[in-house]
Symmetry: C2
Subunit: 323 residues, 2 copies
């Protein structure tokens, strides 16, 4: 999805302003303050400190500039060498701002020379846009093009077009579920009560999976990815949740149908669904990230299909074994 | 959920800093600039302008303060009378910041007197936290208490406890789906192929509904709620999507099973699911908002149950009528 992604996402260059205060480390704060007066900056919240070649050395928040007029800029600056490039995606800007607790993010060229900064106003807009986009992508809604309206104010035709692709994909993928069902025609014919629990099992597997995906999608972007450790943790969570829900489900089936083998099959299918959801709900967003795509993109619809098919296979396996 | 909500959410007072630059409208910019020097502000990005009683009259961005040293503060200030109260929820702060394009949000007491401001660093953190929370709430994960770790770094027991409540609710609610299935035992026994399409129909209804919810949840917070107009728009979108998917589904069933009555029942169930998802996916988050709860809270799990039950009822109604 690389190329399409880039075309639809805003870059650092599109958010960057060029009129920003720049100073050398060996200048006094008083001199810098005097030089700021009478100039129209687009982002004066942070003074960017560069060396003689224009390479970024650090930043001074305006708060500190006012407070410490007796010193050299170099004495009060916070060393910052990380910055974004003009063609970096807006998501990278937001991640860097949060990591380094900056309210204005420097933009540098390939040689590390300061070009401009992404101001706090833009950071707020970016975080808001990423928020909207994540919600929509997780639900399988394609992102809007930059500048076009998103959400409930977009034209109806546009909204239908952005939602249909993943649904059509899902519809074809759901044929798999139907094939699984048809494959166990014999079990269904032999005991029609087996069919009663199919939608509830699929519902619970989907609900557990949605939770795993929603935790994974943001977690994978925020931290360095330690997939092994995370996956083991999520497996314990999935198994724990699956065990509790499976036990309740088995008791409900036992109480209303009085069939302990059917109850066991339903309970084990719910437990199995919890474990599978852990692997799929965590593994799939991680795989999307590895291939350079936004982990939220299509994770919801794709995960649900895999979880539905898996929990039905588990259910019918136990039905075949136990009944 | 009101009281619980407040207890688990941070307030404006918790994000507020008190050391901010304040000026009167009839002061010159030069005087204000001189008064800022040598003081340690916690948020000097914006000068807040108040009247003699300390009531907020407007704001001046630091950018404008540097540029326009020849004028009175009142000449260059942007009039702002909207502010948050100390006990307002952090979500309200973010909404006001976005609406008024402010990077520091004033906090006032009941008489409108300026108490402090929420600085840009806090706004970025709030937007990020709301983002995480929305993703989790939509998936039916309860919010973490303030200060405790969220997401993939939280202790495993904590993660299981925050996820279980909505899943247990969903498990009991899914009994409804099982009751619907059991109610149509006769249709299922008469033609077991009817059961084959149940999970796929439930999947598609859920997928359409998830999209409607994800669009509604943010849209309802962003804009003044014009629910009638929005609902009509979403109905058109739902019916359009349902018609396209229903047609494809009917053709797939026709091609693989050669039963035009079954094909019609499946297609009409998908179409009906699209329309129901429009009403439920939009109406439920709106109802949550009306009752003062976060629209993302539990919308996902609850909507899915309603959509599953509705589309199965539609499906079996057509099965009964057509087959």
């Amino acid at each position: 999805m690389g190329a399409t992604e880039e075309a639809q996402h805003e870059t650092a260059a599109m958010h960057m302003v060029r009129e920003i205060p720049v100073a050398r480390a060996d200048t006094t704060v008083d001199t810098v303050m005097a030089s700021l007066r009478g100039r129209k900056f687009e982002c004066a919240d942070t003074v960017f400190v560069t060396d003689d070649d224009g390479r970024l050395e650090g930043i001074v928040r305006i708060n500190d500039l006012f407070a410490d007029s007796a010193y050299l800029i170099g004495d009060i600056m916070e060393e910052v060498h990380e910055a974004v490039r003009p063609d970096d995606d807006q998501e990278d800007i937001a991640v860097l701002a949060m990591e380094l607790d900056m309210i204005a993010v420097p933009v540098v060229d390939d040689d590390g020379r300061l070009l401009g900064a992404v101001p706090p106003e833009a950071l707020l807009r970016i975080l808001r846009a990423e928020h909207m986009e994540d919600l929509q992508r997780l639900a399988g809604i394609n992102p809007a093009r930059p500048g076009s309206e998103v959400g409930i104010d977009a034209p109806l035709g546009n909204r239908i077009r952005r939602r249909l692709p993943w649904l059509v994909f899902g519809l074809f993928a759901s044929s798999l579920i139907t094939i699984v069902m048809a494959g166990f025609e014999h079990s269904l014919s032999a005991n029609v009560a087996v069919a009663f629990f199919v939608p509830a099992i699929v519902y619970i597997a989907g609900a557990i999976g949605t939770q795993a995906v929603s935790v994974a999608v943001r977690g994978l972007l925020d931290d360095d990815v330690r997939i092994g450790k995370l996956l083991r943790g999520e497996l314990v969570v999935g198994a724990g949740i699956g065990a509790v829900l499976g036990l309740i489900a088995a008791m409900l089936v036992m109480a209303s149908f009085g069939d302990h083998r059917l109850a066991a099959a339903v309970g084990l299918a719910v437990l199995g669904g919890g474990v599978v959801s852990a692997v799929v709900g965590f593994g799939l967003p991680w795989a999307f990230t590895r291939f350079g795509a936004d982990p939220a993109l299509g994770s919801g619809p794709v995960c649900t299909i895999i979880q539905d098919v898996s929990s039905l296979l588990i259910y019918f396996t136990f039905v075949t074994l136990l009944l």
